[in-house]
Amino acid sequence: MVPTILVLSIVVFVIIQLPPGDWLTSYVAGMRAAGDEVSPERIDILRERYGFDQPMHVKYFKWITGIFRGDFGFSFSWNKPVGELIWSRMGLTLLVSISTLIFTWIVSFAIGLYSATHQYSIGDYLATFIGFIGLATPNFMLALILMYLSFEFFGYSISGLFSYEYANAPWSIAKLIDLLKHLWIPIIVSGTAGTAGLIRILRANLLDELGKPYVVTAKTKGVSNLKILFKYPVRIALIPFISTVGWTFASLISGSVITAIVLNLPTAGPMLLQALKTQDMYLAGSFIFFLSILTVIGTLVSDILLAIVDPRIRYK
């Protein structure tokens, strides 16, 4: 795992340096567009101050050793250390992602189970229909519709994660309640597509498993249908479910950028996008590096869970 993360850090660093130019060139271009001229002396001073003139491997070495000391580098456009910027963003991002993941799992598990055990019933068709609509609707579209409906009928704005008065306030019970009031929208918006997909996966897996001979064996032992369902087919049908945790998690964080922008969420997505546009390399690099680590951790967690659920893949 450690070598994987080290290799990842190199790849991340190379990728964010790949676009021509650096933060300084986009800064100067931005200033010029605004009508300001930056003197060449000032550019040289800035270049030296931020170390843009050093070769890539030196910059990488400085960055990676800094990370081990808890120093993620400096964000040029925010004029703040990256560490300060990303912690609050990452925290909220994790909160939204994990809640979305839990929502996705619970809803898709319940509906998928129902769909498979009542195949071709009205309920199954309804779930399939809603599922495909959920899969086909772009998230930002759903976000816009929900925002419109909420503003039109309930008269309050649901964008962001906090109401205006709590946005910069310290944590309190009232702030938490306010957060919960706002949280359900991003959960639904970024969760529907995943839920719809998982419903289909679980339904297909379960239908496969329900016809397996071991289900008949359990029946001939006199075990009740409900007990059979949960002890045998559900457990085996969950295996592909679990193995997707790793990348589901990362895609929940990075995939919801458009939603986050539309809903004005203070999560990692929009900030990452902004950082990439302005070539704010340490900020963008730290974000991408974090997402990579989360993916690696997600994969590790799913591997451990898989080994618990399926004895056939345990190491001997």
Binding site: Y214, T220, R312
Partner: protein
């Protein structure tokens, strides 16, 4: 001998996308206490469906159209098909009174639970034993069926056992609650020949030890010769002949039974080489069952104008020998 199970006029249909398949069309047979009934027939003749219908554990696209399955529990007669197929009463019979083993022990065990877990499940369900006692019972039954080091093997997963061991474990699971009847659906088909003989020996020993009856379903007439007392020959969803094992082998009446016996390879001396006979044609499509006697288009003794018109009933031609063939029906019947 007293009866244990009677199957009367059992009729099962499958609803498939291509149409209705009449898999079992009015099957009758009986099993006495401590008797081994062999049901033999080609693939697709409805023998496995018959076995599953006894416990009412058929696939969801099948439907039992007609018939009775009467189980004699002490002096009580229970029609298993009248019980709710997911209800409590039949679940008390499944696994405890009547249990079942299958062709493929690998897929018939859940791959993600230990063998012991799956054996104990039945014991915990049907007896008052607690977990520890159930484990002891599972170990002793595994020893009984000849699994070495049952103490540690009980915690193995099915994939860790060999094919023969798995089938032994399957038998142990079926016998764990000492049932009166064991339904064995092709129990030796997936095993190699030496293991087959061992499993058949084991089943015979267990039958003596527990005093139970067995219905063994097979397409292998050799297996029938090994183990069965009474034999029912099935063709396209019907029993065409039912007799004692000796009568089936030495005095077969139905042309299909005779043809089956002729198509067994024999070990002969080099100079007496005979050509292996086979039955003409193939088993008809189950969607278009022939009229009259379903065997008429492959039969060597086909009587035009009769066999393709009249469906013969199973009639008794001597005590304990029944045959469904127009050759044995009296003229004018």
């Amino acid at each position: 001998m007293s009866k244990l199970l009677e199957v009367k006029n059992l009729t099962v249909n499958f609803n498939t996308a291509e149409g209705i398949v009449r898999a079992v069309r009015g099957v009758d047979f009986e099993v006495d206490k401590n008797q081994v009934l062999g049901i033999v027939g080609e693939s697709g003749c409805g023998k496995s469906v018959t076995a599953r219908a006894v416990l009412n554990v058929l696939a969801s696209n099948s439907e039992i159209m007609n018939g009775e399955v009467i189980y004699h529990k002490n002096n009580e007669k229970i029609d298993l098909l009248k019980l709710d197929k997911d209800g409590k009463e039949i679940r008390k019979i499944r696994g405890k009174e009547i249990s079942m083993i299958f062709q493929e022990p690998m897929t018939s065990f859940s791959p993600v639970h230990t063998v012991g877990n799956q054996i104990m499940e039945a014991i915990l369900l049907h007896t008052g034993l607690d977990k520890k006692e159930a484990r002891q019972r599972a170990i002793s039954i595994l020893e009984e069926v000849g699994i070495p080091e049952a103490q540690s093997r009980i915690d193995d997963y099915p994939y860790q056992l060999s094919g023969g061991m798995r089938q032994r474990a399957m038998i142990a699971m079926a016998l764990s609650c000492e049932p009166s009847l064991l339904l064995a659906d092709e129990p030796t088909t997936a095993l190699d020949v030496t293991i087959q003989a061992q499993i058949l020996d084991l089943m015979r020993d267990m039958k003596e030890e527990f005093g139970m009856s067995i219905i063994i379903i097979t397409h292998d007439i050799g297996v029938i010769a090994e183990i069965a007392d009474q034999v029912a020959v099935m063709y396209l969803g019907r029993v065409v002949e039912e007799a004692s094992v000796d009568d089936i082998f030495y005095d077969p009446k139905h042309p299909y039974t005779r043809a089956l016996l002729k198509s067994i390879p024999k070990i002969t001396k080099k100079d007496q080489k005979e050509k292996l006979l086979s039955i003409e044609g193939t088993v008809p499509d189950a969607y278009n069952i022939p009229s009259g006697c379903t065997f008429h288009n492959r039969c060597e003794e086909y009587m035009a104008g009769r066999c393709d018109k009249i469906q013969p009933e199973l009639i008794e031609i001597s005590p304990s020998h029944k045959v469904a063939c127009l050759l044995y029906e009296k003229e004018g019947d």
